[in-house]
Symmetry: C2
DNA sequence: ACGATATCTTGTCAACGACAAGATCTAGGA
DNA sequence: TCCTAGATCTTGTCGTTGACAAGATATCGT
């Protein structure tokens, strides 16, 4: 169960040894598998085969399937926080960035908001999630101060709802349009 | 052999024969299981055991796991359409009804918006979903006409987003409050 | 009453998740 | 350089699962 170790920053070189950076390879394979068939349409052994290792190799890095999802959620929240922080302090652009992240990282986004998949007590995950919420609150602070908490929750809800509807294929958007650009006029209805 | 199990409360009318209305019993058990541990935290055989039937009995009613999810999604869309239609033509109340349905039927709502779980080509499902979308468009028609399609998508997104955030446990609402009542002030920000 | 059909059971198989124990590789100190 | 400790991966195993096939039993139409 000792899966929540800080990431190895010295992975760049890798090579040589047994397989390489198996941890990263398995996580990438999991992202592909989730994109292709959801969180339940694949097996650990399948990821291992795709990576060319034995069926029990991934267990050393993640413990079990929950450990893999915990690692994915942690990475998701970490990158989410970075993207949100980079979006600047304009609330509309924050919303666009929110939706774009969800669409560009469907698998991570899906895992992030499905707590039954991962270990909520994991420290690394909790820290990453905190960072994401902080970035979100930071961007919405102006709205919260001027229009109250409900307005901030409304802004969060509209961005999150559009992202979920988009990713589930419920919306039928114009072709050749990014999720964020499709979301912009919708978000503007609230944030004019 | 089939009677060594405590009587199921769902069996009211039927009785007699092998088990009763097994289809309904399995679907109810599935809803409970999904509420308890998500769409992947249980097995068909577990539902069969809980219903007191053999491990292969459910297959006759649903074919496979995808068939069960298809049945659940169909029931979800059917009841969703009813609830939305009963909410009247006030858009705020429609939003409240949307959120309340999601919270009162977490399992159905979750399956409904996860297309990889069910068979999208199923005719019954398609009809039920059409009915739900019709009820939704009906309720938002006024907004669409006066404020455009983006405004309607915005209203859908805010209700859907609040529902998803609520159900995922991301929001931390005041205790002893229903999802719909918590959503009302948030929806009002858009629909004043 | 009786046969057709729907419903359920038993049996089976490959695949899976999880665990244990052994093999192999890497790193770092003697 | 050698050599040990630990990290990484493999092989082997077990109970469970989803799916299928074939047989048993109850219901229903005629």
């Amino acid at each position: 169960m000792a899966t929540s170790i800080p990431p190895e920053v010295d992975d760049i070189g890798k090579q040589g040894y047994h397989h390489g950076d198996l941890r990263r390879v398995i996580m990438n394979a999991a992202v592909e598998a989730i994109d292709a068939s959801g969180t339940g349409g694949w097996s650990m052994r399948e990821l291992a085969r795709r990576a060319g290792v034995s069926h029990a190799a991934p267990a050393h890095h993640f413990g079990d399937k929950e450990g893999l999802f915990t690692a994915l959620a942690t990475e998701g929240y970490t990158r989410f926080a970075e993207v949100l922080a980079a979006a600047g302090d304009d609330l509309l652009e924050l919303g666009v960035a929110y939706v774009d992240f969800a669409a560009d990282h469907r698998a991570l986004f899906e895992v992030m908001f499905r707590p039954e998949l991962f270990d909520e007590t994991d420290q690394c995950l909790a820290a990453a999630r905190q960072a994401a919420w902080r970035a979100l609150n930071e961007g919405a602070r102006g709205l919260t101060e001027t229009a109250g908490a409900s307005a901030s929750v409304a802004a969060w809800s509209i961005a999150h709802g559009f992202a979920e509807l988009w990713n589930s294929g419920t919306l039928t958007p114009p072709p050749d349009t990014t999720a964020g650009e499709s979301a912009r006029p919708v978000l503007k209805v609230l944030l004019r």
